[in-house]
Amino acid sequence: MERKLISARCGVINPLSIDDYIKTGGYVALRKALRMERIEILEEISDSKLRGRGGAGFLTSTKMMGLAKESGPMKYIVCNADEGEPGNFKDRFLIENDPHQIIEGMAIIAFATRANHGYIYVRGEYDHAIEVLQWTLLEARKHKFLGNNIMDSDFSFDIELRSGAGSYVCGEEFALIESIEGKPGRTRVKPPFPTSIGLFGKPTLIQNVETLVNIPAILTMGGKAYSKIGMPNCTGTKLISLSGNVKNKGVYEIPFGISIRKVIFELGGGIENNKKLKMVQLGGACGPFIPEYMLDMLIDYERFEEFESKTGAGAIIVVDDRFDLFDLMLRVVRFFEHESCGKCTPCREGHAQLVILLQKFIDKKASMKDLISIESLARVMHQTALCGLGQSSPTAIISTLRYFRDEYIDRCDIWTN
C-alpha cells in the first residue's frame, strides 16, 4: 500500500553522507534541470499538478509562476520547516533521514524562477534536525551543489538556516517572514502575497519541506507520469504522520486516494491494547474530529476541504474510547490560545471564551444557550480571524458539533439557562 517516492532513502542511507545520496540518484535531477530551459521546468511541475504539502494544498506551479514573473535583483525561496502542528512529524522525518533532497528541490526551483537566495526556517525545538541541516549545507556547498556556479554552470544560489524560537504561528507565511526578519511572528494583511512583496520586501516563494522534496522526483520521472499517481486532482504521494492510540505509530508514504481506515488498520496495525476506536483527528490540532463511520473517506485534498478547513498536512491522530471528547477539545483550544499572536480580536478573545464555554460542558453545567454560544463563536472566529490560525482553530469544535452533537446535548442541563 505504501508507495515510496520521496521516502525511499529514509532509513536506508546514511543521511549525513552526501556520497550515499549521490549513489542513490541524488542531484541527478538538479543536473538535468540546469540543462533545461527554465520554462520547461515550470511546465513539468505544472503537468505534475503538485499541490503544497504544508496544509493549504495550493497548486505549487501557480506560486512558482508568480515568482518567476517577478523581475528585480533579489528573489527568495524559503523552505518552511516550522512544523509545529500537534500530531505532525513528517518534515522532521524527511530532514533527519534524507536532507539533501530538500537542498536539491530548492536549488531546482531557484534556478527555474531565477531566485538567488534561500532560507530554511526550522522550528527551534528541532535540535537534531538543525544539526543535520547545518552539516548538509556545508557538504552541499563543498560539492558545488550550492554557492557560486553550481555544478560549473552560470547559476549561483545559496541557502541560510534560520531557527524559530518556539512559536507555532511562525509557520504561517507572513509570520514566518517577520520572524526571519527578526521580529515577533505576527502576520500581515494579504494581498500583496509573498510572491510579490515578501521577505525584506522582495518576491518570496515559501514551500513546505515535503513539497520541495517532490520536485526532484517530478523532474526525474516527468510531470505527466507523476500526475498519474494518486487521484486525478490530487496527485502524487502523501506522507502521513500516524500517532495516538494506534499500534505502529510513524510516518508512512501513500499515494493519495487510500482510505483513512486502511492507514490505521493495515499500516498502523489497528488500535493498541484491544481498545475500541472512538474518533480520529485529521491534520493535527487545526483539523476535525471524525467518528469511526467516516474512516472510509479517502485521503484527498478535495475531500478534506469539505470540512471548511484545509487540513492537508497529513496527520492522523487516533483516539480510543477511554478519552473524553471535551477534555481533548480543551487541550486543542488551550494550544491555540497559547499560540495566538494576539493581532486580531476574534482569535485573541475568542479562545479565552471557548475555554470558559468548554469548561462548562466538562463540568456538566452548560445550558442550551451555551450550546448556541459555542456554535456561533466558533463560526465567527472561523469567518473573521485574520490568519489561518484563528480561521482553522475552531474546526475541532465545529466538527464535533456536527458528528458528536449528542455528547454536547448530554452535558447540557436543560433546566439551566
Partner: protein, 153 residues
C-alpha cells in the same frame, strides 16, 4: 564567553536578533536575558530596547526570568496526552519537589509545558537542554534526572 565577545560574532542586522538572543541564553546557566543584556543587544543590533523586549516576550523559548540550569519541557498535546504524559508530569513534580512552571531551589531544574515537540510517534516526550527524550516511562524519567544531577560538579 562573555557578552562582548559573543556580540562581535553577530552582524549589526535586525534579522539576526532572534539567533543572537537564543545564543546568549544558551551560554548562560540560568537561560534568560537580563536587562543589561537587552540594552547591549539593542545597541549592537541598532534597534530600540522595546523592540528587543517585544521579541523576547513573543517567543516561548526566550525568557525575561531566570530559569533552571536544565529546562525541562514536557509536551502537553493530544498524541502525548493520550499516551500517559500526565504520569510523566507527576513523576517529575514528585522527583524534583516542584510544580509545573517552577524552578528547584538549587537552580538546577525548571519544569515547563511545551507544545507538541514533533515526536508524537514515540510518546510521551520531553526536551531538556537541546535534547528530546521519547517513549518516556516513570522509570526512564528517574534515570534521566539522576543522570543530569550527576553531571553538575
Amino acid at each position: 564567553m562573555d557578552l562582548t565577545q559573543l556580540l562581535a560574532q553577530y552582524p549589526h542586522e535586525e534579522n539576526r536578533l532572534i539567533d543572537l538572543l537564543l545564543d546568549i541564553q544558551k551560554q548562560k546557566n540560568n537561560h534568560f536575558i537580563s536587562e543589561q543584556e537587552i540594552q547591549m543587544v539593542a545597541k549592537h543590533i541598532g534597534v530600540s530596547e522595546a523592540k528587543v523586549c517585544s521579541v523576547i516576550s513573543f517567543y516561548t523559548l526566550l525568557s525575561f526570568h531566570p530559569r533552571g540550569r536544565y529546562v525541562i519541557q514536557i509536551c502537553r498535546d493530544i498524541p502525548c496526552h493520550i499516551n500517559h504524559s500526565a504520569s510523566i508530569v507527576g513523576t517529575l513534580e514528585q522527583l524534583l519537589g516542584i510544580q509545573m512552571g517552577q524552578t528547584t531551589q538549587n537552580g538546577l531544574f525548571s519544569l515547563e509545558y511545551s507544545s507538541c515537540l514533533g515526536h508524537c510517534d514515540a510518546p510521551p516526550s520531553m526536551r531538556i537542554d537541546g535534547r528530546t527524550y521519547v517513549h518516556l516511562t516513570p522509570d526512564k524519567v528517574k534515570a534521566i534526572i539522576s543522570e543530569y544531577r550527576g553531571r553538575t560538579p
